[in-house]
Amino acid sequence: MNGWLLALLQTGLVVFTAPFLAGWVKWVKCRLQARQGPPAWQPYRNLLRLFSKEVVVAESASPIFRIAPYVVFSVTALACSVVPLVAVGLPTATLADVIVLVGFFALGRFFLALAGMDVGTAFGGMGSSREMTIASLVEPAMLMGVFTLAMTVHSTNLATMIGYLLASPFQLYPSFVFAAMGMMLVAVAETGRIPVDNPATHLELTMVHEAMILEYSGRHLALMEWAAMLKLMIYGVLLVNLFIPWGVAVDFAPLSLLLGLLAISGKLLLLGSALAFAETGLAKMRLFRVPQYLSLAFILCLLGMLSHVILEMN
């Protein structure tokens, strides 16, 4: 019972702090570009504003258009419950392993892309087509990265993976270094950040995610944007907790939970700053350069897997 309560709390924590991370990245980015920038809690204000605004739905929209925000949001929220944020060993972690997690994202993306095609404008179709193309290249790279980790820890369950790494003495696996680099590239592509997509743009030549949700307004838009922030948060948590697992609580004692909370906050803020730093230094790529970028990610993960097979298997 205690575990379920904690799991619920942790899920709530992920869901309600995700906008802060997105705001933090934006704030750091603005500071780096010598602009004042909105405060880090600006996304909360935006969401609240959108929730209270009127919803305008196009005449040509079908029920899919209205269902999609709820599906996208609820699937992403469910994904939040699977990811170990503060502690491992929570009962929700057995609900789904990392492959199912990828499946959740794929389901959300499926409905997002359908919603983009629903109204029948050219922008939506364009966004959907690009999103599905990028996703189809991301998934093999992502899976190869996951496989590399899973081969070492003998599990695809996220909590078990992190628990294994915490319990074993520190050792720098070459395969982990490659996998970490590959997964970072994958995470950037999956969360739609520069250089793959730009969340701040509304220019038709460059939009991917924004093009799909162009027709949304009011609470529907709020759910869609919140889901995107959740996705950023989940990928951030995955990266830091899988590759730098220290600090994650292995028991439910208040002190270790507090320590876990502090550790993850620090790690996420650092990761957010790094992301902002990278986004400041890079320009968005042309769409047809993205395959090269993603094949680099795949090759890094493949190298990780091969170095595991060659160097670490006995």
């Binding site: 305008v56 609820s74 419950s81 087509s129 290249l137």
Partner: protein, 670 residues
């Protein structure tokens, strides 16, 4: 009991084909007799097969027909029971779907009775293949299935393309049949009999075992449609009537998989891991090439047919992994791979026939088969659209539907590749898994395209703008399959427990750990390695949805939704031609994977009177130009050379016969 039900399935299927011949001119009589009997065949197949699988028993029967020294042997064990269930399920739904659907053909140029006659024979042939217990009955039933389905493909023979497709189908079915026959021949040579139970006792030297395996792999692979033997499939499946396409794609390919499993796992035995590596390689190639070719199609039924190639590839990936583990002595993992492959057989039968039934409904109501002329159908055909959406989600391997479970099990099997001592295999298996991930993601892209272009947006043709929902029978059939897709996605533990009975036939220890932790959890290998709680996932999604909905409910009351025209950038109203098309949707993928297809593109400048230029895009299949056309040229060339001996003189021909006879006598006497 279950054996009688299985026999009833065969008899009812035969009767549904033959009885209408009493009154071949009356369409009403045909429909009243044929379809209920077909439904009975399906139902008794489901019951008979299901009971055999649940009880895990084995029945045997010897019929007083067949060769003098070998009476026809029939048997029913969990493996054939499972496939009988799959065949029965789709047959049952086809019988529910059919009567309203064939109304289309009643006004057509052909009489109705060939359709029902060959449907009955085809279903009976498939059931008999599953029941056959000796090579002789197997081949007879196999040919009955092949030839009957040839007539179904050629049913609308007034179109030249249909005749051509049907001929290619027949040709490849016969060549495939020949390979299977040779495979049985090798086994019979060492076993000394055509009886399956005797053949499986045969001890083959390694070389001959590999020969037999390769023969069976090619023979059954030709029917199953693995790359590069798939070329008949995307030609033959789309041109048959839609409920027959569902049977061909959803079920007949599974009968080939059944034959392959029966031949390799049971009769041949002693699996080598090299065979598994071959199957894994061919399966991966089929999966990814199938989906890439499907992406480029804009004929809905042909697109679905290419997806059958993809899904057969996924099944073969599972089988390949299972064979690699079996060949290296990891019995439990081999059982897991086999379970994943069998699960995908069931799933593919469900969602592929669902999609074909949906495509049939669209075809009948709009008379369009080209995606580029559809659009906005979700408002005209809401029930079909909902069921089709479920089919799309299932085939794209998305949780919590059924396609996801079997792909997830395949992934989990692949993950265990680390137990192998062979490091090259251990490195290649993850690559195959990455190919599977690519396949799944591309399939999702393809079905976003299909559903988005076909059902969403604005109608692109007159037929789609005025289409009406299909009548009740086809709706019920589709709803049934859609519910089964969800059910098998949410209750995987129970299903896997039943499939384990089959795996135990070949790997007696089975894989008990997978289902050992209650009905909520699917835990291949061990709970701490990986787990998937499908019912809880569905519950979680519903819960999150309900919370979001309830939370927003007061706001919904306060600010109702306003309906207004979509933003048109100030250029006047949007029209249907401004939407993204299927070709446009797949363009980035076409550009990225450019060398995969032979593409010819051309652009013609507009003439003086014309408004716009003409853009032509043609996408072929490399298998044709690189493999089949050279073979065809070779055969034709050889035939031309041989015309020398054809002088047209009857005496020369008689001399040929005489010398051939002499030669044969000489051979026999040696």
């Amino acid at each position: 009991m279950s054996f009688s039900l299985a026999s009833l399935a065969v008899i009812a299927a035969l009767a549904s084909g033959l009885l209408p011949l009493l009154r071949p001119r009356s369409n009403r009589v045909i429909k009243v007799i044929s379809f209920p009997l077909l439904g009975l065949a399906g139902l008794s197949g489901v019951l008979g097969g299901g009971m055999t699988l649940l009880q895990g028993v084995r029945y045997q029967l010897e019929l007083p027909v067949g060769l003098p020294w070998l009476h026809s042997q029939l048997y029913l064990d969990p493996l054939s029971g499972f496939f009988l269930l799959v065949v029965g399920l789709v047959t049952l739904v086809a019988a529910v779907y059919g009567p309203a659907y064939v109304r289309e053909y009643e006004q057509g140029p052909q009489p109705l009775f060939p359709l029902t006659l060959f449907t009955g024979l085809f279903v009976a042939g498939m059931d008999l293949v599953l029941l056959a217990a000796d090579a002789f009955s197997f081949m007879i039933s196999w040919e009955l299935m092949s030839v009957a389905s040839y007539f179904l493909v050629a049913y609308q023979h007034q179109h030249e393309v249909n005749r051509r497709s049907a001929f290619i189908y027949l040709l490849m079915a016969q060549v495939g049949g020949l390979f299977i026959l040779l495979g049985f021949g090798v086994l019979a040579r060492f076993g000394g009999s055509f009886d399956f139970s005797v053949m499986s006792q045969a001890v083959l030297p390694d070389g001959w075992a590999t020969v037999a395996f390769v023969l069976a792999f090619i023979g059954f692979g030709m029917k199953a449609g693995v790359v590069p033997l798939h070329v008949w499939l995307p030609q033959a499946h789309p041109v048959a009537p839609s409920h027959i396409s569902a049977l061909l794609s959803g079920v007949m390919l599974k009968v080939a998989v059944y034959g392959f499993i029966r031949f390799t796992y049971q009769m041949l035995g002693g699996i080598h891991w090299q065979w598994g590596a071959l199957v894994l390689f061919v399966g991966s190639a089929s999966a990814v090439l199938g989906v890439l070719y499907a992406l480029m199609q804009h004929d809905l039924k042909r697109l679905l047919a290419y997806h059958s190639v993809e899904n057969i590839g996924i099944i073969y990936i599972g089988l390949g992994l299972s064979m690699i583990f079996a060949g290296t002595g990891h019995q439990a993992l081999a059982a897991l791979g086999l379970i994943a492959a069998l699960y995908h057989c069931l799933n593919h039968a469900l969602f592929k026939s669902l999609l074909f039934f949906g495509a049939g409904a669209i075809l009948q109501q709009t008379h369009e088969h080209d995606l580029e002329r559809m659009g906005g159908l979700i408002r005209r055909l809401p029930v079909t659209a909902t069921c089709f959406l479920i089919g799309c989600i299932s085939i794209s391997a998305l949780p919590p539907f059924n396609g996801f479970v079997s792909e997830w099990l395949t992934f989990q099997t692949a993950l265990q590749g680390t137990v192998l001592n062979n490091h090259i295999l251990a490195a290649l298996i993850p690559v195959a898994a990455a190919v599977l991930a690519l396949t799944g993601a591309l399939a999702a892209a393809c079905f976003v395209k299909v559903f988005g272009v076909c059902f969403l947006g604005m109608p692109r043709s007159e037929g789609c703008a005025v289409a009406r929902e299909i009548s009740l029978g086809p709706q019920v059939g589709q709803i049934l399959l859609a519910l089964l897709c969800l059910l098998f996605g949410v209750l995987p533990t129970w299903t896997v427990a039943q499939l384990e009975t089959i795996a135990r036939l070949f790997f007696p220890a089975g894989m008990p750990e997978t289902t050992a932790h209650g009905w909520l959890w699917l835990t291949p290998v061990a709970p701490e390695v990986a787990s998937y709680g499908a019912p809880l996932v569905l519950l979680g999604i519903c819960l999150a949805w309900a919370l979001a909905w309830l939370w927003l409910h007061p706001r919904r009351r306060r600010t109702p939704v306003r309906i207004s025209p979509a933003w048109d950038c100030g250029f006047g109203p949007l029209n249907a031609r401004m939407q993204y098309t299927a070709t446009a949707f797949s363009m980035p993928i076409r550009r990225i994977f450019r060398p995969v297809w032979p593409i010819s593109e051309s652009y013609q400048e507009p003439g003086k009177e014309e408004h716009g230029g003409r853009y032509r895009l043609q996408i072929g299949d490399w298998a044709w130009s690189k493999l089949y056309e050279p073979i065809a040229r070779l055969v034709l060339g050889a035939a031309n050379r041989l015309t020398i001996i054809q002088g047209g003189n009857i005496r020369t021909y008689l001399a040929y016969s005489f010398f051939t006879l002499l030669l044969l006598l000489l051979v026999v006497s040696l």
